[in-house]
Symmetry: C2
Subunit: 322 residues, 2 copies
């Protein structure tokens, strides 16, 4: 039975997490209640809660303890999405209009704040102080990472290393923390905790690279947002960074970037260049390297059903790419 299939153990557990999320986000404020409802209805894979719960199964699995933590981490993730959409001026996310496009930037600011505070509330009530401290640091890093990304918009000179540091903070840290907190709060052995932690990090890196690849070749229907949205808003990701390493393409890219706004035809050109230059292939190779590392982390873990589910999760990622 595959991880997201209806009826699988983890599917049922995630349904339960959903209840915690909905309960935590209850409000009598009429607009807020609507924006939150729309976010919930848009769904999402609930990847981070899955990581918390599956990691917990390598130790002394305590549903009542892990459920609110998993819910809190997902709500935190939702908050960052809502605030991100303000910055990106994004109209669509997960296939539905964003809070900011439908209700305005102002409501998006407050909705994100509301989600942040609810997330803190859930997490602080259930997490050991030590893990709370780690979570705070992760949050600080996420904010710094987002601002870094914002600061380097339209910059063709950023290195692969800078990109990797950025996605580590923006995405991978929360993946790895989800695994780590799930493991530590369930008293996993330090060896298993370490492997789960590394697994989360590697999956997070692969996930973000795949996401960035999909910005150039994904189907809008599947990705749930317009093609090349990141590029159009000046956020240059791995495929572009690789492309710009070739002086021939860098010159071409520069010509387009200097004009400021991108026409549809220009975007189509960029889409061709990232393919032609081999940058897409390089990007996929790098994603696969992280996937391989994640699979190796799994091999070092005890052979329990949770390990198989985590393996499925990695396979989903591979499928998503090609």
């Amino acid at each position: 039975m595959r991880i997201w299939n209806e009826g699988s153990d983890i599917y049922n557990e995630l349904m339960e997490v959903e209840k915690y999320i909905r309960k935590a986000l209850k409000t009598r404020q009429s607009i807020l209640s609507k924006t939150v409802q729309e976010l919930l209805d848009a769904g999402g894979k609930r990847l981070r809660p899955a990581l918390v719960l599956l990691s917990g199964q390598f130790g002394d699995y305590n549903r009542k303890k892990l459920m609110p933590i998993a819910a809190g981490i997902e709500i935190l993730h939702m908050a960052t999405l809502v605030h991100d959409d303000i910055i990106d001026d994004a109209d669509i996310r997960r296939g539905i209009p964003t809070v900011q496009s439908k209700w305005g930037k102002d409501m998006a600011v407050f909705t994100g704040d509301f989600l942040l505070t609810r997330s803190f509330s859930l997490i602080t009530q259930n997490v050991e102080l030590e893990n709370m401290h780690k979570l705070s640091n992760v949050l600080k890093a996420i904010c710094e990472g987002e601002i870094d990304q914002y600061q380097h918009r339209y910059n063709l000179d950023i290195s692969v290393n800078t990109y990797l540091k950025r996605i580590a903070r923006k995405t991978a840290l929360l993946f790895s923390l989800s695994c780590r907190v799930g493991a530590e709060e369930s008293g996993c052995s330090s060896r298993d905790t370490w492997n789960l932690w590394q697994f989360g990090k590697n999956v997070g890196m692969a996930f973000q690279i795949v996401d960035d690849i999909l910005d150039f070749e994904g189907d809008t229907e599947i990705v749930g947002k317009p093609l090349m949205a990141d590029f159009a808003s000046g956020v240059f990701t791995l495929p572009v960074i690789y492309t710009a390493q070739d002086p021939y393409y860098k010159k071409k890219l520069k010509g387009i970037v200097e004009t400021g706004r991108f026409t549809h035809d220009e975007l189509k050109c960029v889409q061709r260049w990232v393919q032609e230059s081999g940058a897409m292939d390089y990007s996929k190779k790098l994603a696969n390297r992280y996937i391989t590392r994640a699979i190796n982390n799994l091999k070092s873990l005890p052979d329990i059903p949770a390990r198989e589910y985590l393996g499925d999760l990695v396979m989903e990622l591979e499928k998503r790419e090609y």
Copy 2:
């Protein structure tokens, strides 16, 4: 010696809080470091930290415990200001350009998020779980209050009661929580804790009403923001609500509000109407009623220097008004 005077006990303690605030907000992210620095340089009375520390002095005063809590609450307040300015499209706050006017809405969103997360970090590490829970609820209420205010913009039909509920959530709750947490974390008697808590609430209500009065008659130099900024952005506060209770003035106000944007002359008219109608006097009376209640709360507390400082704080409020 008066409360804010250099050299007073509480002044020195607040200088110490400032160090905690600065330390908590350290970041290597270059832009973030600048926006934060500007916010810190703009200063502020640090009213909420003062309430935490002074309340703590009615019990077993533990500086090391209260300092980070006081700093965390002030940072939380700073976060709400930064995000508020996005909604108000405010250009000036505390006499200096707002983050959003200088760095753009995007940076303001992230700076606010950064402040929020840092505040949580400080508070969770130092507050008892029970108080953390209360703080979470206050935060939820602040968000809901802000959205309520946003939802009711340009609405001349809101009642005084709705207004009072709004400012209770928007301002008074955090004032009262500052007192309560300071008292409880210092093991004050339940009677003193209750009086401090009520004191905070009443001071908070008075503070917000005075603030709303100053929107119509304050000196821009002192208030640190343009005159009638709230009214111009459609946020109708007590003086306008009282004015609109007179059918004669309500008709006049309606005529202006229906046009949407306000000219300078129209704002001048409104400023005259809130005076002529007696609404300003009513508003001042209501502010004074809360001030009287706050003073009564103080009378029930033991006669220690902290009580005198709290009295000074109330007097500052009265002075501010006239």
